[in-house]
């Protein structure tokens, strides 16, 4: 009971700084200049192609430039358009590569809400390729990732006076996290293909271009990712999200030790014990829902969980460091179990789990 009340208090403390404070006056996107990050639900109806109706959520930047804007990739590449009124962005039809064929996309209007907080859009597409022809549609529903409308003609959403909590950095963290997820996806892809090559499961002339492409992506995006997180940490050195993401980046780079290594960032992240405990709970709830588990897996009624529990406690040596001995995360089972997940999960898997947690907070 007390724990439940505590969780509510913690959640409230987390959410209060990001409670919506959108414009009570009509907002006009056609006069704004700057990049704004949105959480976009993309529903692609492939039923006419004998496919499913797919729904995914992405963090998507839109670059506004006073009268025109470029929408980030929502599945068919980024697209530029012009405003036909204060809050209607018109995007012309175009044809995009859609291997092994191509898709002709209809023109469409992006309708922004007058309080700045949301937008909707829908376009149709006609696919033609060697594997057949068919038509479908894509619907977009966007919600601004920040807690308020951007300040007029501001290039960023950073307030001039930083609140103590650091939670105001929502849009910066969302943008950096999106880049990190791309980077970790490329790293994972490169590791898997390299492993397949070493095992003779893939031809060298097939593997080499994939590895080269992933390496190019990593080399291009990692300096940007590090810059984004260092900017956040300069303002808020113990920020949970920035430190945990930097930890995953360092883990994927194979840099484990020191304050600039995995363990250093992980310790700083887990020093936010309340946020860490709440994040662990949210990730557990998400896993239970994702795999339709009837209950939380428990060693008392699962031989696998019993064995896992014993192995987790007996195999604490990770890259030469006993993770029980790192300075934080051992004071409660929640922070300790989050530490296990951060440490043993692949960077991409952990980043994806954090995306889901972050979205939950952003949507509340």
């Amino acid at each position: 009971m007390i724990r439940g009340a505590l969780c509510i208090v913690i959640l409230f403390a987390l959410i209060v700084p990001v409670v919506a404070d959108y414009s009570s006056q009509p907002w006009s996107w056609n006069t704004y200049t700057g990049t704004v990050t949105w959480w976009v639900t993309v529903t692609e109806d492939q039923s006419a192609c004998s496919g499913p109706v797919l729904t995914n959520r992405y963090s998507v930047p839109i670059q506004f430039n006073a009268g025109s804007a470029v929408m980030g990739d929502v599945g068919h590449g980024s697209a530029g358009g012009t405003f036909t009124s204060e809050n209607i962005l018109h995007i012309d039809g175009r044809t995009v590569a859609d291997p092994p064929g191509e898709s002709a996309l209809s023109p469409y209007d992006v309708q922004f809400s007058p309080d700045c907080s949301a937008f909707t859009a829908k376009y149709t597409w006609a696919y033609t390729g060697s594997d057949g022809n068919c038509e479908g549609s894509t619907s977009l529903s966007g919600k601004i990732a920040s807690d308020s409308c951007p300040s007029s003609s501001a290039a960023t959403l950073i307030p001039t006076v930083a609140p103590a909590s650091g939670e105001y950095l929502t849009s910066e963290i969302a943008s950096a996290h999106e880049d990190l997820t791309t980077d970790l996806g490329s790293r994972l892809d490169r590791d898997v293909v390299t492993s397949m090559l070493n095992n003779g499961w893939i031809r060298k002339d097939t593997a080499d271009p994939i590895i080269a492409g992933d390496t190019a992506t990593i080399n291009a995006i990692e300096p940007k990712v590090e810059g984004e997180y260092q900017a956040i940490l300069a303002k808020d050195p113990t920020n949970f999200w920035a430190n945990s993401d930097m930890a995953e980046l360092r883990k994927s780079q194979g840099i484990w030790d020191g304050s600039d290594g995995y363990f250093g960032y992980m310790d700083k992240a887990l020093s936010n014990t309340n946020i860490a405990a709440d994040t662990a709970k949210t990730i557990r709830d998400n896993i239970v829902a994702q795999y339709n588990l009837a209950q939380w897996p428990d060693p008392s009624d699962s031989a696998f969980m019993d064995r896992l529990e014993r192995d987790v406690h007996s195999d604490q040596d990770v890259h030469g460091t006993n993770i029980q001995s790192t300075s934080t995360g051992t004071s409660s089972s929640d922070t300790l179990s989050l530490k296990e997940f951060l440490t043993f999960g692949s960077g991409k898997s952990v980043a994806d789990a954090f995306t889901d947690v972050f979205k939950k907070l952003a949507y509340q």
């Binding site: 095992n199 990730i283 896993i287 031989a303 014993r310 195999d315 898997s349």
Partner: protein, 130 residues
């Protein structure tokens, strides 16, 4: 012709195959120990490892790549757990002489050097441990 094909396959694999029941985590059983020794030398080898929690299929290759597949989880486990884990695998690359025996004897030991959906599923379940 068929027999010679099998012989060729075995020669090409250069492997031996074992099926063994193993003890719980910790010290390796005899079949596990034989597998670990072969894998440490980067030899082609496979082992169907029947454990008290389920059945794993282990392989090692001349390219110094170890794979671990969770073939079957005990029937007493929740269906969601079976969906999450059965058929998943992870791949671990290493150099000759540096095979981590914990990949065989433990669910998590040495997993930081591996990739695959088995690793990620196990990592997700560690968040339920205390």
């Amino acid at each position: 012709m068929f027999l010679s094909g099998i012989v060729l396959l075995l020669l090409a694999a250069g492997c031996s195959s074992n099926t063994g029941a193993s003890p719980a985590s910790g010290n390796p059983g005899p079949e596990q120990a034989a597998f670990i020794a072969a894998a440490n030398d980067c030899k082609d080898m496979n082992l169907t490892d029947n454990e008290d929690i389920g059945t794993f299929y282990l392989t090692s290759s001349q390219g110094c790549v170890f794979t671990k597949t969770l073939v079957h989880l005990n029937d007493s486990e929740m269906q969601g757990m079976k969906t999450m884990l059965e058929g998943t695998n992870m791949t671990c690359s290493y150099t000759q002489g540096n095979f981590d025996s914990r990949w065989v004897t433990s669910l998590v030991g040495g997993m930081e050097y591996c990739n695959g959906d088995l690793k990620d599923a196990i990592a997700k379940l560690t968040i339920f441990t205390t």
